[in-house]
């Protein structure tokens, strides 16, 4: 018995001759927060839409809770909450009616949960959906995805359109769900978002997974951002390998280094330093320079 909630094997989706995703494989363990990272058009949405049964694969398999996504999808989806990247709802409905309609698909009473979530997300449930702003529609989407207390939550770019305060609230709710044992898979193109929240991430590029790792491992891999003020240091003084994003303005040098930090310290120590800062680069910076 594995405790994998999601198992994806060699999943391929072609749209005619156009690439969707190619040979994507990864597993998500129970209780994990899993980030799915990649630039726009890399295939994040395609993967998530396959998991919830909106589209069918050209090849490969995917299972959730040990069941085949494409044959037993309706059973699986009882315990799955999904937030699409673009939220569109039946426009003539009031928010509350839509949420009740959504709840009617699950055989349980969700009223308490709806009220609680709406209050926390500051959502006015008497408004009509077509009167809402994009951010507010997104909130409806979030409540709609969580109201039946699913065991797996799949979120496609959940924070786009939310203001920072709401993003913060949203992440708190996600974290709370996770503490209850809920597994979370969400996609994003903002790395700092993922870095804060996720246990593991998969990086997807042009339809293929290029790396899967624990966020802590990724952070540990000793990427350091150096800022040095020194009068007699030049790019040529440093080794070529592992140095990226080198800039020099007047006597200020900045770069990101991957590898053994002692190499750099040794070089620096032979010079007269005015100031030195060593920082953790964000995942974004790592991603930018090492996964292009």
């Amino acid at each position: 018995m594995s405790n994998n909630v999601i198992e994806i094997k060699n999943l391929t989706k072609m749209y005619g001759k156009n690439r969707g995703i190619i040979d994507v494989s990864f597993d998500i363990k129970e209780g994990e927060i899993y980030g799915f990272i990649g630039p726009n058009g890399a295939g994040k949405s395609t993967t998530l839409r396959l998991l919830v049964g909106l589209i069918f694969p050209t090849n490969g398999s995917a299972a959730i809770f040990g069941k085949d996504c494409f044959k037993q999808g309706n059973i699986i989806r009882k315990d799955v909450g999904y937030l699409p990247s673009e939220v569109f709802y039946y426009e003539n409905m009031k928010v509350m009616n839509l949420l009740k309609y959504s709840a009617s698909f699950y055989k349980k009473d969700c009223t308490k949960r709806i009220n609680e979530l709406c209050m926390r997300m500051e959502l006015d449930t008497n408004r009509k959906i077509d009167e809402l702003s994009y951010g507010n529609k997104k909130k409806v989407g979030i409540v709609q995805g969580l109201l039946h207390s699913p065991k797996l939550i799949i979120l496609d770019e959940p924070t786009s359109g939310l203001d920072p305060l709401m993003q913060h609230k949203f992440f708190r709710i996600i974290k709370e769900e996770n503490d209850k044992g809920v597994t979370i898979l969400f996609s994003s193109h903002i790395l700092s978002e993922v870095q804060k929240l996720c246990d593991r991430i998969a990086i997807i590029k042009e339809g293929s997974i290029i790396r899967i790792d624990e966020v802590s491992e990724l952070n540990k891999e000793s990427y350091k951002k150096f800022k040095i003020i020194c009068n007699d240091l030049n790019e040529a003084d440093f080794p070529k390998d592992g140095i990226n994003d080198f800039t020099k303005t007047n006597n200020q040098i900045a770069f990101i280094h991957k590898g053994n930090i002692n190499e750099i310290i040794k070089i620096i120590s032979q010079h007269e330093i005015i100031d030195l800062q060593i920082e953790e680069p964000t995942l974004e910076e790592i991603f930018m320079h090492y996964y292009q």
Partner: protein, 264 residues
Amino acid sequence: MNIYKYETRKKLISTLIWMISLGFFIFSFYSIFETIGSSAMTDMLEEYPEAFLKAFGMNNNFSTIIGYTAMICIYIVLCGAIFSCNLGLNAVSVEERDLTADFLIPKPITRNRILTTKLLAALTHILIFSVMNSIICYTGIEIFKNEQEYSFLTFLLMMLGIFIIQILFFTIGLFVSVISKKMGSPLSFSLGLSFGLFILNSFDTILEGTFIKYFIPYDYFEFGYIIENTAFKTYGVVISIGLIIAFILGSYLLYNKRNIATAM
């Protein structure tokens, strides 16, 4: 059940508007039966070439209330075809056009259930449409028949014929919507199909009994034939039921494999 309830309620107003306007039209048509059905009028119509009368469905005997009803029914069937075809085209494609499929399909239901409930909701509307029409026509006949005798069975067969034609147009619409990648403008398609076949039907009536008739739903339940024989054309019933089953099965098959398009 929830989808059925929602779907039925959503379209109720549109069906109601159809009913009110069509009902008004039918009723006012019946109210001039006495004038049009009079001998002066029929004499005048006899002056017109037969082909012309056939093309406009005026070849039935207007002086009888049932012949008069047949003429009115030509307009009802045309409206019914547009109405039903539109229902079929929109049934599932509207979810994709409004991008609400991303809401509906990730719910714990099968594609089959989505299609079945939508089918039932649409059938309910077609049934409402047909029953209301029949009641309005029946009332019109009873009020304006001028003591004439008529066969109630013939009347019922005509109404049933219209109902089956509507179901057929609905399934055509449904099938077209699941084979096409993206449904752009459903109304123009249903108008085009309904009128196109109607015009084809006029040609066929003038030319009499060409093979084209097998492709025209209106011909399957031609009112003149029903009045004469108090029965349906056998091939009409066979073809229409066969097509309905084929289109429904095809729709289920395709919808279960359908990839839902994204916003982009």
